[in-house]
């Protein structure tokens, strides 16, 4: 469904040299499949998402490679054609919450507009009702009232959920979610991921989740790709990956994640047994 081959993105310099930021990326996500993209801060995960979204801005350019969505190369098509696909068939959830919403427009109207931009035949009324339905679905209480709120009236977590609602409004066939649950509480995170997961299983939506959280990968992804210094260093089935990560970068990531949990458990164990020093 989404197939990336030989993608190299970077900055061309005047002297003819090329400073690559991500190099020779190959990645494939099928319909109904969830792929996790993990890696440290600065590894190039978000740049890859920008490339898929057609958001590369000079001086950063894609030098070579293809990003095929249902067979069509997103890089080769002109911007207008790409705009008819993005936000409709291929939707994005980007991190940043409130900053990604228009501060001067009510949230419900923003969501309705994303729908009407892609399908002019939808009436304002129908689009507004659909916006409220989606706000409700992503767990916003009193969705009909919240639709009338401006972004500054929402909490960070609610703004992030509004972004998810916006991505789902046109029933996309593919969803790219970059840190979709950052700033969202664990209980709501769980609800949202369950929602993504059922889209994947029941409506065969393809899903690319960019995350730093191996817990999300373990429970909500079928495959995982590890990015380090602009390259995909490992691409494996989730069960295989967690049993035996192969690349040193994957091993290190896994080690740190496990260490964090172990240290937490070791520390908390002491707090239960000490107590003697207290009055």
């Amino acid at each position: 469904m989404l197939e990336i081959e030989g993608l190299t993105v970077g900055i061309p310099h005047a002297d003819g040299s090329f400073e690559s930021m991500i190099e020779d990326i190959a990645l494939r996500v099928d319909a109904g499949q969830a792929v996790g993209l993990v890696g440290e801060a600065g590894a190039g995960k978000s740049l890859l998402v920008h490339a898929i979204a057609g958001q590369l801005r000079p001086p950063v350019v894609a030098r070579s490679g293809t990003i095929r969505f249902e067979g069509q190369d997103l890089l080769a098509m002109n911007a207008e054609v790409r705009q008819t696909i993005l936000g409709r068939d291929l939707a994005l959830v980007l991190p940043g919450g409130r900053a990604r919403l228009d501060p001067l427009m009510k949230v419900g109207k923003q969501i309705a507009r994303v729908q009407r931009d892609h399908d002019g035949s939808v009436s304002k009324k129908v689009a507004q009702a659909r916006a409220i339905e989606l706000l409700d679905r992503v767990g916003i209480p009193d969705a009909d009232l919240r639709a009338e709120a401006y972004p500054h009236e929402l909490s960070g977590g609610m703004a992030q959920r509004a972004l998810v609602a916006m991505a789902l409004v046109n029933r996309p066939r593919f969803l790219v979610a970059d840190e979709p649950t950052s700033g969202i509480d664990v209980t709501i995170q769980r609800q949202l991921l369950e929602d993504f997961s059922s889209l994947c299983r029941e409506e065969h939506v393809g899903l690319l989740i960019v995350t730093r959280d191996l817990g999300i990968v373990a429970h909500y992804c079928d495959r995982v790709a590890v990015v380090s210094e602009g390259r995909i260093v490992e691409d494996a089935d989730v069960r295989t990956f967690f049993k035996s990560p192969e690349h040193p970068v994957s091993q290190e990531l896994m080690r740190a994640t496990i260490l964090e949990r172990q240290q937490a458990a070791a520390w908390s164990e002491q707090t239960g047994t000490v107590g003697a020093g207290r009055s």
Partner: protein, 360 residues
């Protein structure tokens, strides 16, 4: 500790066990004693937002109290009330034998440096136009330190947080997130505080950075004897640094116990639901998932009764009218009290009622 002795050796050097702390100071009082504190915000003539609704909390010298809960549960507001960044609607904050919640003017200003704060995002809480050393100097400006004393202290805290000398003359943008947070911690330490409120201080870092900063915070606590209020929605981080943990929901503490008890033997339905939502980095691990339906209700014009009523998996009709109070639990570890605010607590601890785990 008074202002006059502030320049002496680091106080109360780490003579405690790593995970123990004296809840009470020399005079038998905890460092911070919060008594029935509340903060209401008036939204309009008819709407009243209860951010914190009557909370008791103590923090001992050299102790870390973790504060967990969803966004909107009042964690940050409680931290700010303790720091006197906001005035309480009612209730008191005692700092040993001083009632700081009602101090004003110069008296309050004298206590300000004793209570510090570290924020979530160091890239926005450090001045981008100041070098790290300038930012630290700025933090002591106005406290009449001699130049030698000032520079000595700045060096001491920079050493304590392991910031390489070369970076102290750099601007924040040249530093990684973890290095920036080290500098923010150094800045909070330079006035030798007794309490630092850490509000989501590790939430913006990746796993490496979190490990580093947590270890650093423990070291700093050993060296300076400072207490922490560690506010976070990252339960693993809270677990790895707190001596005791308070769980907040809709402006109230619903459970408070030693870290071990909160994570290993929680009783309150909300605590249990919260913990079960944590995802383990193992595809085979099928943690029970007690469903909390919907999300935290709006704190505006909150109806009386148990705040969890609408989402609770074990609620009964009577819970709707039950006014929450913290009951002491029997199975208390060591001498650390364990309290929980649930009407059905006896039924839950005796196993007469089970939380129902939903399948995924």
């Amino acid at each position: 500790m008074t202002q006059a002795s502030a320049g002496e050796q680091p106080l109360e050097a780490g003579d405690q066990e790593s995970a123990s702390a004296d809840v009470t100071g020399a005079n038998g009082r905890p460092l911070i004693d919060v008594r029935n504190i509340a903060k209401h915000f008036r939204i309009s003539r008819r709407e009243n937002l209860v951010a914190v609704g009557g909370v008791d909390l103590t923090i001992g010298r050299g102790e870390t109290v973790g504060l967990v809960g969803e966004s909107g549960s009042g964690k940050t507001t409680l931290g700010r009330l303790i720091l006197r960044l906001w005035d309480p609607t009612y209730g008191e904050v005692w700092y040993e034998d001083k009632r700081i919640s009602h101090m004003q003017g110069s008296e309050l200003r004298r206590w300000r440096p004793k209570l510090q704060m570290v924020f979530q995002d160091p890239s926005t809480s450090l001045n981008p136009r100041m070098t790290i050393r300038q930012a630290l100097r700025d933090a002591v400006r106005g406290f009449k330190l001699s130049r030698e004393e000032r520079d000595r202290r700045i060096q001491e805290v920079l050493d304590a947080v392991h910031v390489p000398a070369a970076l102290t003359e750099a601007h924040p943008e040249a530093l990684t997130g973890s290095q920036q947070q080290r500098c923010a911690i150094a800045r909070s330490l330079v006035m030798k505080p007794d309490l630092i409120v850490l509000d989501e201080a590790v939430s913006n870092l990746d796993v490496r950075g979190r490990l580093e900063i947590i270890e650093l915070l423990r070291e700093v606590q050993q060296q300076f004897g400072v207490s922490y209020l560690f506010i976070s929605h990252d339960l693993t981080a809270v677990r790895s640094i707190s001596h005791r943990v308070a769980v907040m929901y809709l402006g109230l503490i619903v459970e408070f116990a030693s870290t071990d008890v909160i994570f290993e033997r929680p009783v309150h339905p909300y605590t249990r639901s919260l913990l079960s939502a944590v995802l383990y980095p193992d595809p085979e691990a099928g943690a029970p998932h007690y469903t909390l339906e919907g999300e935290i209700p709006s704190p505006i014009n909150l109806p009386p009764g148990c705040p969890l009523y609408s989402r609770c998996p074990v609620s009964e009709p009577e819970c709707e009218q039950w006014t929450p109070e913290l009951f002491p639990m029997e199975q208390t570890a060591g001498n650390v009290p364990h309290v929980a605010a649930c009407r059905r607590i006896d039924d839950l601890t005796s196993g007469r009622v089970e939380m129902v785990a939903s399948g995924r």
